[in-house]
Symmetry: C2
Subunit: 366 residues, 2 copies
């Protein structure tokens, strides 16, 4: 069960205060100030077959203040912790990764050393802080990218506004980078279709697909942002809506599905709040291309073929007969296929025939 | 004055019918069916100093059916015209550029020749159709990319929904690819700030900048879509709102401003409905960097320097003392500067000090 909101909002701040207290205590007692963080390297990431999520292993590293090899990273993590507490949580403000970078980028007085030089350094410090505190960067008020639109029979409350996702004209609601604070007031929709392309969203929206099928349509443009992944997860866990993923039939599309479902290697420590092991792949599948007499496949490029090989070797796809079959068919036909190529069967073919039929027959890949 | 909506919506369709009738007449009278299109090449694009817009010159080319050099383009243009009339305007549907490509991509029966092979071909045919009919592709129901968010004291009506841009929580309204049919019901805001970055939009939105300053905040992510440019133009021409552009101080940011203001070479034929000669450049300027004691400039790369040279030679910048001065200062300081670097002065520095002061002092570049 989600904790009450007031408590929720105070806990991340408390965890930063605790961290500060622990370090102050280290200093008072004459100890070398240190923090312990999980090792974020491929060698410490594993696929948990039971939870079906990527997760970090148990290897940790201690980072000390009095250690020439550690002090730079140690100081950066503390600088970000200070910004998160004093500038963001204390003041109820949010900031982007880039903002944090510029906030932290100061020269240490009397030296020519910058606390950070590249954004990669603050980004990495923020990931450390997620691990140390156990709270996501969104809960620490550090936002991911803003991207994507949503429509469907859902009413939410956000920042004091009541917003009906079914009454927003041709545009829909613009998904914020941080969806932790929105409250679902009424969710009448029965499932969610997430698609990788905004143009497909506009097609389904114009055809009132979400109205006729009583679902939610949600899209980004390309790779899925953390805001969207969290929104999908909240719809799944708080409202038990099935989530169906609609991408191109190509290695990139299947990778998008893979990240939503299992998590990603670089964010393995966040799998608990980001991965969604029970989402289903709705299409486009190799079988669709045969069953719906689709033409207009695009020949695979070399990069597609090597990406396909990589995908097929992922732990979570390696033992999946269904996926190995798809990979083999893609390779054998030497072709990929875009969602929008369905238009060659007619502009509204996707919303009138393809999607309703696939969903009715539960023709998914798991 | 904008024409009434019913008339507006029928006119583009009529123009396609006229085009078809003209060709049928050519055939009946034993003439070689032909269309006349403006030449869309740099040599036929000029900067009109009076209107301050890029525009196409008077050179036209005739494209004939019975001409081996013309028949492919001729057929493609007709294929797109047929799709626009029969599949879109007749049925009240819209489609993306990619959809049109797949709709047109058919093999001519009894041959192995495709009407189109690459999307570039339908894109180009659509531009021809814009020139021949005098209507934008949006009016022909062919949509650009969907991107961007907006908030502010404006109430619109769209697809039967009444949408209040000031009551949409942290997300805002997601701007559709096609804004031709939205109706402005109430515009209380006094000006528009358009910014190139969604993260900056979220900063200003959280700080309720649009509420305190009674303005509209509007952003894309990177280059400005046609939907956004049309939205800006409608706010400018129908409601006389001043429009201020906020970009990074770098050649790419200034190029974004340039395209919004003067139009682009590839869309010179659409300048009438897309260019906005009286938008103002709000920042970041070289002077801001001095006046606000900003640090954290990023060294110019070689590509920046060559892009800067290109910009400074554009007809519309060549004779502008103000812009030549900016270009020189950028070169002399050998640095560019991101909007978000303002965060180093404090997270809310941009919305509490920088923007209000710049706007109050009307410290713009034209």
């Amino acid at each position: 069960m989600p904790k009450s909101k007031v408590q929720d909002k105070e806990l991340p701040r408390q965890s930063l205060i605790e961290l500060g207290k622990k370090l102050a205590e280290d200093i008072e007692k004459g100890r070398n100030p240190s923090i312990e963080v999980s090792v974020r390297a491929l060698s410490n990431v594993s696929f948990d077959k039971k939870t079906k999520k990527l997760s970090l292993g148990e290897r940790t590293a201690t980072r000390e203040f009095f250690n020439v090899a550690h002090i730079r990273k140690f100081t950066q993590t503390m600088a970000v912790a200070r910004i998160a507490k004093k500038e963001l949580l204390d003041r109820g403000l949010h900031a982007s990764l880039r903002d944090i970078y510029y906030q932290a980028k100061k020269t240490i007085p009397g030296t020519d050393i910058n606390i950070v030089d590249e954004q990669q350094e603050t980004d990495s410090a923020i990931e450390d802080l997620e691990i140390v505190t156990g709270y996501s960067r969104e809960q620490l008020h550090i936002n991911a990218n803003k991207m994507g639109s949503v429509a469907g029979k859902v009413i939410i409350e956000d920042k004091g506004d009541t917003i009906d996702w079914s009454r927003l004209g041709s545009g829909g609601w613009s998904i914020p980078s941080n969806v932790e604070d929105i409250e679902f007031k009424k969710v009448s929709a029965k499932y969610v279709v997430y698609m990788e392309k905004a143009a497909v969203w506009e097609r389904l929206h114009e055809d009132k697909f979400w109205d006729k099928q009583n679902c939610i349509i949600l899209s980004s443009q390309g790779q899925t942002t953390r805001g969207i992944r969290r929104l999908l997860q909240r719809l799944r866990t708080e409202h038990e809506l099935p989530i169906y993923i609609l991408t191109d039939f190509d290695p990139y599309g299947i990778y998008i599905y893979s990240v939503i479902k299992f998590g990603s290697i670089s964010l393995a420590h966040m799998s608990e709040t980001l991965a969604l092991p029970d989402v289903k792949f709705l299409g486009i599948s190799a079988d669709d291309i045969k069953n719906y007499g689709l033409t207009n496949a695009i020949r695979l490029k070399d990069v597609d073929i090597s990406r396909l090989k990589q995908l097929s070797e992922y732990d979570w796809f390696k033992n999946s007969k269904a996926w190995q079959r798809q990979f083999k068919m893609m390779k054998d036909m030497n072709g990929k296929y875009e969602i929008q190529a369905l238009s060659s069967r007619g502009i509204t073919f996707i919303s009138e025939k393809y999607l309703p039929e696939k969903i009715r027959k539960e023709d998914f890949i798991d």
